[in-house]
Assembly symmetry: C2
Homo-oligomer: 623 residues x 2
């Protein structure tokens, strides 16, 4: 099937998608989360985007009820209602992005977060010493900056020379009330910092202008620690086996961050010393290793963290090459494997400020679930992630070029491949799609068994039935024949893959159910299910509900909020109020250790079964 190229402005990022894919989904593919308060029903008009075609032909049709005639004439369309039917340019204005919907972030003000960073600059011009004014250099500076400003020894050492070389004028860089640097001239118009989402697999760094709160550049890369193991447990075990591995893993993480910093400053024409602060949001293991803290006690019952309250460290002390006085803010942690990335996600989603209970699910290499209900915050962690990242799936792979990322059944199977190349394997979203479609077709039963051709319902189209391959008593489903794959081998959904999916999906659903039970509410009371994380972003909601991973709520209640950990890290960088809010959220959250919950095993066993009946969102058109 032909794919169309969609190029997003102003980022310039391109993706290839199947005809009929919605702009909302294509944008997600490109890492852009559109704001959909109405749940993508085409009613709120918040996800507007301006569409044009390379050919110059008029924009895609679909007169959107939520837009005026003038906007429509100017090319404006709704991302949730407009399908791709040619190569396209799509301009996403800042206000259409989830990250820039302040009313979602604050739940109240309706205004964007005013920048209020911890780091600040002050230009000063001091009177020269004279016979009538023999105050010390320090007293003179403090009279301009405030008597409560503390000055570390290194800066004090520079002070006499600096003041005299620069005619008693310059710019002071302050972090809170501590002087962190002196700069000649007036540099108050330049104040930058980097927010990191430090994932087990992927690290995302964003360079921010702290004065405007705007993003200047984004860079991402694979965490260098992956060479030591794919998941947190294998890295913890490395360190438990050999103490020296802690330093190696720490350096691998720091090198990854340094490489991204280089990219960011290169891209933006800045230098490393222009970075005055760093925030880091990661899971417990990632945060601890980056800070040089032994995570060994996370490797055994009762899963103890080294710290819970946030850390404030010199960037140099963990090997980050930025401004010599820069500090690193490391997010507070909740307990066990529920770490700073979850707190950052909670901050970004402001999940406790909704009118109704809210469920927050962040699926990365691990899956974290938080339920906000009646002022309580319950947080749990599951090891659901790896399957969705392709691990333990026979032909699984990460969502990179060559990965089948979407599977749609019609008379036959249609797949979408990332990067417009021949398929190499399948990633997590395709795994969910395939299972959901097989359930709808009646080829997969509630226990997770792929039926052999002779047991499949008679209504199954022949083209699909021909894809069923039985070997050694088990049946597998061919997604792509060898003739169309990159390697010449067919790409299959193996019976064992379905079992892995049941484990991963069941873990998330069981965790959700336990939290709901703890809070004493039904899923029906949930005002929203917020899906965060790179993976959560690309899930087809109806398919995720069809396999039972998400609770049975109205489809519009399931909202994609993008990379919430990264957004939280950015918010904490830009705003002291947000940082304080994150601390408050972390303090209030209660860690629910699922492994200790007496109901968990029963819930888990039950959640591994696929639901029999279609769920609210299970309509023919996906998304």
């Amino acid at each position: 099937m032909k794919e169309y190229r969609v190029t997003f402005e102003p980022s310039g990022r391109s993706v290839f998608v199947l005809p009929g894919t919605k702009i909302l989904e294509a944008a997600g593919r490109a890492g852009i989360a559109l704001d959909t308060p109405c749940g993508g029903q085409g009613t709120c008009g918040k996800c507007r985007a301006r569409v044009s075609r390379p050919s110059g032909a008029p924009a895609a049709p679909a007169p959107s009820r939520a837009l005026g005639a003038q906007d429509i004439a100017a090319g404006w369309r709704l991302g949730c209602a407009t399908r791709i039917d040619s190569d396209m340019f799509v301009e996403i204005p800042e206000e259409s992005r989830f990250e820039h919907r302040p009313q979602i972030l604050t739940g109240d003000s309706g205004h964007a977060t005013a920048p209020d960073p911890v780091v600040s600059k002050r230009h000063f011009s001091l009177p020269e010493p004279s016979l009538d004014d023999q105050r010390s250099d320090l007293a003179r500076l403090r009279s301009a900056l405030g008597e409560d400003v503390s000055v570390p020894g290194e800066i004090l050492g520079e002070l006499p020379g600096f003041l005299r070389r620069n005619n008693w004028r310059g710019t002071a860089v302050l972090t809170d009330h501590t002087l962190m640097g002196l700069e000649p001239g007036d540099t108050t118009r330049s104040l930058h910092a980097v927010a990191f989402d430090l994932g087990t697999t992927t690290v995302v760094g964003t360079l921010l202008d702290l004065l405007s709160g705007r993003e200047i550049a984004v860079a991402s890369g694979i965490n260098g620690q992956t060479a030591f193991g794919d998941d947190v447990i294998s890295r913890i075990m490395r360190i438990r086996e050999r103490g020296a591995a802690l330093a190696e893993l720490q350096q691998a993480a720091a090198m990854t961050l340094n490489r991204l910093i280089d990219e960011l400053v290169h891209e933006s024409g800045r230098s490393r010393s222009d970075i005055y602060e760093i925030t880091v949001a990661g899971n417990s293991t990632m945060q601890q290793i980056l800070c040089g803290l032994d995570p060994s006690s996370l490797g055994e019952v009762p899963f103890v963290q080294v710290f819970d309250s946030p850390l404030d460290l010199p960037a140099a002390s963990i090997g980050l090459g930025v401004h010599p006085g820069a500090r690193v803010f490391v997010f507070p942690q909740i307990g066990g494997f529920v770490g700073g990335d979850t707190v950052a996600g909670m901050l970004a989603s402001a999940l406790d400020r909704w009118d109704a209970p809210v469920l927050f699910i962040d699926i990365g290499t691990n899956g974290e679930i938080v339920l906000a209900c009646d002022g309580k915050l319950l947080a749990a962690s599951t090891a659901a992630g790896p399957a969705f990242e392709g691990a333990r799936i026979r032909q699984g792979m990460r969502a990179t070029a060559g990965a089948i990322e979407k599977v749609v059944f019609a008379d036959d199977v249609a797949v979408n491949v990332i990067g417009n190349v021949k398929p190499v394997g399948l990633c997590g979203t395709a795994l969910i799609d395939a299972a959901a479609e097989l359930l709808r077709a009646g080829i997969l039963d509630a226990t997770g068994r792929i039926l052999p051709p002779d047991e499949a319902p008679s209504a199954v189209p022949p083209a699909l039935r021909r894809r069923l391959v039985t070997q050694d008593g088990e049946t597998h489903f061919m997604l792509v024949p060898g003739s169309e794959s990159a390697g010449g081998e067919p790409i299959m959904l193996w019976q064992r893959d379905v079992r892995e999916l049941q484990l991963a999906s069941g873990a998330i659903r069981a965790g959700t159910n336990i939290l709901l039970k703890r809070a004493g509410i039904d899923a029906g009371r949930l005002g929203a299910v917020l899906l965060a994380g790179a993976f959560g972003n690309f899930i087809r909601r109806n398919n995720a509900q069809r396999i039972g991973m998400l609770p049975e709520v109205q489809c519009q209640s399931v909202r994609f909020i993008g990379n919430a950990a990264s957004l939280g890290a950015k918010l904490a960088l830009v705003s002291q109020a947000k940082r304080a809010y994150a601390l408050d959220l972390a303090r209030r959250a209660e860690h629910v250790d699922l492994s200790r919950d007496t109901d968990f095993q029963a819930e888990f066993a039950s959640a591994m079964m696929f639901p029999d009946a279609p769920v609210p969102c299970d309509v023919a058109a996906s998304q």
Copy 2:
């Protein structure tokens, strides 16, 4: 003249003194300041010492009115009333030392300063983590130490391993509310620190037990910076000429401190890592160089310091090898050359807590003067010191072995030489003694001219008259003939030496007069003149008044308070309240720049003239 050996207990220090010297003076010679609230009038009984003779013969006579018969029978005598008439052992109880007179230090309580150091230790025993208690290591530790304890990254890195190796027990070392170290077992009975008096010439370090507040060991040595110049101005000029000299001078100071620390820990059987804090009191130049702060702006008008408020630096940052978490407290400074040693001396003397105005004079390589009057504190600095340390005196030398330290005229000249050896030269006290005795004999006139033999009064004994030597129109006075000196050359008081003395003494007196004038009081209102510093300790009060250096107050008002800078450094180490008091004193003190005072030149010119009339203390018996 024969000298007697006096050995002080418990220190074991010995000095040689002339027959008839008071124990008070001999003790001063040995670096022990006796407490004399009554001014050495033999009435208060505070300076008691137990005297015995090597021969076993009964103690020296002098039935002291202030002592009971039983005490006298047990060998107790008053230091101010008992003269040395043989070799002696003198035991000085702690309560007779100026440093241990708490009522003088606090002015109110009458009780010794209760130790209340910034550094403290806490033994902890934590519950082990369990399924019911999964708190982080940090939260667990904080529940024992306090929620407000902050933990630096390095210590946090050690925490997981430390707790598990030591069964969740150990000792936390805290500086204020920051954890600075973890130690296995219960080490709360051991808590040490070092106080430094960082002089331009001499550095004194005292090892203190912070739990009891007691001194464990004392060590002193020459400041390694003397290789770069004898006085602060020459060292500042070195740095102004060549920036790299700052680092060299800093290292020289740090090496001196490290050498003394080695001596202290060696002597007391401790190790460097047992030192948890350091206080440093020095003049502006010494403190700044030790902290790596360029003192160049002290080398030119308007004499600006780098800092005034106290510094709190990591000991490691200035190259001091003690406990890795140890901090250095550097005393606040007042202005110009009035630095931390003056503040420490003010702290030790509590000069603002007396009922009457108090004048504090600390003569080291520089001379600092502080007047406390009606709640005001006026502080000035003069360059008086070098002459008293032997600099610019033709046969001058420091008060070390071979120095004539005392000169007494009877029919002829009697001198006392330090170390019971042949004389090499004369030190500052002998310079003052000689000038005072020459004035009394009428051989020296008020303008400072040594009269030739034919102009000297007829009453001058022939033995003295024979010592007058006229050369090239100037007359000099021979203190020791060549036949009795170490080098075979006569030791002379040269006419030029008298001029140098006039400059030094005049500077101190002029400074004193300016401060009194600023405060609007006469010297007669002074309740006390406190003499501090190694030199001040050894001065004969009557002689210092005779030459006009000290104002004309009653002799008992002139009090020796020993090394006040060192005592202040110790107090700030032992007590947070004292440290806060030092800050308060420094903040309240007003720096009087004598060089800018319009009256100073006139006062100086007038103060250089020797007084005509005898002063209150000018009695035949010295001291």
